[in-house]
């Protein structure tokens, strides 16, 4: 208990600094206050608080002080809190930041905590998301993946048949999208997805039998595959399957601002946890298809991903309590009933099944999509190495340059490999 005074003081100071009331720490009743941070909006806040209230009732003496922001400022703030020596106990962690923290010893190895958090219920792909070597630095707060949504109202209107979403190829996508553009007389473009989005590219690369990132954190993608990727977009754009360069503007990230919602395109790639919001933004008649090429290329490309992980600070002073809270969030169906799918489908399939009946029909569609994908044999994916966020930024830049014909697909592929190797410290 010698540390108590000091920690109470630092926590108290921190609380003042951030303007959050938060009662005293390990004071009178020997209670413990956990510091938990995450990103999201007010809806997510309400749902998270509902889950925490359940936890609090079951664990008197433990209080949880939460703080949340938008994802951009969150990232900055988390970094500065670690730098200031005041890390939160439990935090939401971006998948592309995980190793930035883990490789520097800032996160707790959850596997080494003698089963304080039960991860045996999770699928292997879910467990692997934050596993570096034999250590586990995070647990997915929920699962998602990407999928192609097609607006059936538009395909009906123009009399275009939707291909079988489980077996379609990239050529099928191109032909389908072109048909819509032509049938609508250019009023609606067939499809929209970005060459500059890393998640899209990674699926394509995996289908080609390569790993974008290898097990040892290097670049496994070949120049030929990258060239084909950029060239495919150029062809589809030239044929009118995709809208012209610069057509889709970066007006905001919400579903309402997407070209799909505005009826400018008939199909679009989305993260599956956003299916319900896209559905309501786009008029309620969306079909959820897999990414093309899953059965027509060398191997499966899709993977089980997560919008965010839960990680625990290595230096937490309340290890036992924070692991208990984490276990509750992951494995207790009541917690997931309270949070719903705000962070994706619950990572534990048993919990996902228990929660499903309480979900809206749209969330059930997205849940089914993910649960069935988890049962299939998918090639292993590796956590993004440190420097990955730089590669994602370079990909976006280079893809835009290829889109506007400032670079050829060959030049783009070369440039991305070069900057990627540099970003990974090669």
């Amino acid at each position: 208990m010698r540390m108590t005074g000091l920690s109470a003081m630092t926590l108290g100071l921190a609380a003042c600094g951030r303007g959050f009331g938060g009662g005293g720490d390990a004071g009178a009743g020997g209670g413990v206050q956990l510091d938990m941070v995450w990103w999201g909006d007010a809806t997510r806040a309400k749902k998270t608080q509902a889950a925490l209230d359940i936890f609090k009732r079951a664990n008197p003496g433990v209080t949880v002080r939460t703080e949340y922001q938008d994802s951009g400022p969150y990232k900055d703030k988390l970094a500065t809190r670690f730098a200031a020596g005041d890390p939160p106990d439990l935090m939401m962690m971006r998948i592309d930041s995980l190793r930035e923290y883990a490789d520097r010893g800032a996160l707790l190895d959850i596997r080494a905590q003698s089963g304080a958090v039960d991860v045996t219920g999770l699928s292997e792909s879910a467990r692997n998301l934050a596993t570096v070597g034999d250590k586990m630095y995070g647990i997915p707060s929920g699962l998602n993946t990407i999928g192609f949504v097609v607006n059936k109202t538009l395909t009906d209107q123009y009399g275009v048949r939707i291909p079988d979403g489980n077996t379609w190829s990239w050529q099928d996508l191109s032909a389908f999208a072109k048909e819509i553009t032509e049938a609508s007389g250019g009023k609606v473009y067939g499809a929209h997805f970005e060459a500059g989005t890393l998640a899209n590219l990674i699926v394509y690369v995996r289908q080609r039998g390569e790993d974008f990132y290898t097990a040892d954190g290097g670049l496994g993608v070949t120049e030929a595959t990258l060239t084909d990727w950029f060239a495919m977009f150029r062809t589809m754009r030239a044929e009118g399957a995709l809208p012209p360069a610069g057509f889709v503007e970066n007006l905001g990230s919400s579903a309402e601002q997407s070209p799909l919602a505005k009826g400018q395109v008939a199909a679009q790639i989305i993260p599956t946890n956003n299916f319900a919001v896209n559905q309501s933004a786009a008029g309620g008649n969306l079909a959820l298809l897999r990414v093309p090429g899953e059965t027509t290329e060398k191997r499966r490309g899709q993977s089980i991903d997560t919008p965010a992980l839960w990680s625990v600070a290595a230096g937490t002073e309340h290890r036992q309590e924070v692991l208990k809270l984490l276990d509750f969030l992951i494995n207790d169906p009541e917690a997931s009933k309270a949070t719903g799918t705000t962070r994706g489908v619950p990572a534990n399939p048993a919990v996902a099944d228990a929660v499903k009946p309480t979900l809206s029909p749209d969330d059930q569609i997205a849940t089914d999509y993910l649960v069935s994908l988890q049962k299939e044999e998918l090639p292993r994916a590796y956590p993004l190495p440190p420097g990955s966020s730089g590669i994602a930024a370079d990909l976006l830049t280079i893809a835009t340059e290829v889109e506007f014909r400032r670079q050829t697909p060959e030049q783009g592929a070369k440039a991305l490999l070069e900057s990627g190797r540099k970003a990974l410290g090669g």
Partner: protein, 315 residues
């Protein structure tokens, strides 16, 4: 970034300062009261001075926020010259500054002269023209700007009347910076207000005398207005240059923090921020901040040198 902002404070003398009356030594007692009132400022300075010197140290280290900084000498600085995105960010910032600052000063002076001709309801006009200055750097206006210049925005609708198919002003890498330059020029209000104040200081008799001698409007502007206004022009120039070099918000909001499309709005400070907080290259970001300080100091110094040839102080 805080390190850079301290530069702003080195303001050049606005107008000729009257010779200080320092015959008597001020009583120390009154000094003390003065310092007492300055105390909050000194306390606030600590929050600037400490990070200021910390960043100078960090500029010579490899620091990722999580592990202690490691001394690497000049590596951060040599790395800059090899970093294509750094060069790009410098290019974007220079183009932005050297195009938009003269244009916005010209617009400010032009409108100030119009308003100086004794318009009725001057305070209202002044406020209206000043308004964009207050709002231009704000997130809401940049967002609004994105819609105005959107593919289906007002600007393209207007161009459409003349049969011009407008580009994606914010999504095309050839035009995104142009859009931001227009936004900057639009926020000419604060130099304008200062110009207006300066114009009112010019005695009307000079113009009357010149008009009697048959000087035309242009001649009067060239030979009376400009020379007498030159200290104000100089002040506005320095102010605008410094703040323009430090542009951040516009690029951040317009591109959603990415500096896109294709790094065409990657301002120096935006890249600095990305390096520091996005990729945890805090040492590199600190070095960039100090490099920007040197660049701004160099341009400011150059301006002071050149000022001898064109800035005239009255009396």
């Amino acid at each position: 970034m805080s390190t850079v902002s301290t530069v702003v404070d080195e303001r050049p003398g606005l107008a000729p300062v009257p010779a200080p009356q320092r015959r008597r030594r001020p009583r120390p007692r009154r000094d003390r009261a003065g310092y007492l009132f300055l105390l909050p400022w000194f306390a606030g300075m600590l929050f600037t001075v400490i990070p200021f010197f910390a960043s100078l140290y960090l500029a010579f280290t490899d620091y990722n926020l999580l592990n202690p900084p490691a001394w690497i000498g000049l590596d951060n600085f040599t790395e800059m010259f090899r970093d294509p995105v750094w060069r790009q960010s410098l290019k974007v910032t220079f183009v932005y500054t050297f195009v938009s600052v003269p244009l916005s000063l010209a617009a400010a002076l032009g409108v100030a002269m119009l308003l100086n001709r004794g318009v009725r309801g001057l305070p209202l006009y002044r406020a209206v023209f000043y308004l964009p200055s207050l709002l231009g750097g704000s997130v809401a206006v940049v967002l609004l700007w994105k819609y105005v210049f959107g593919l289906n925005g007002i600007v393209n609708a207007f161009l459409g009347w003349f049969g011009i198919d407008g580009p994606g002003w914010t999504s095309d890498p050839d035009f995104a910076l142009v859009t931001l330059i227009v936004l900057h020029v639009w926020t000419f209000g604060s130099p304008m207000v200062i110009f207006l104040a300066g114009l009112r200081q010019i005695p009307a008799m000079y113009y009357e005398a010149a008009a009697m001698d048959g000087a035309g409007r242009w001649r009067r502007f060239r030979s009376i207005t400009l020379p007498l206004l030159s200290p104000i022009v100089f002040f506005n120039l320095i102010q605008s240059l410094i703040s323009s070099f430090q542009t951040f918000t516009q690029g951040y909001v317009m591109s959603g923090g990415a500096g896109g499309p294709a790094n065409s709005t990657m301002f120096y400070n935006l890249y600095l921020y990305q390096q520091g907080f996005g990729q945890f290259h805090m040492g590199y970001a600190s070095a960039m901040a100090w490099m920007l300080l040197v660049i701004i100091a160099a341009f400011t110094g150059l301006n002071f040198l050149m000022a001898r040839f064109w800035v005239h102080y009255d009396n």
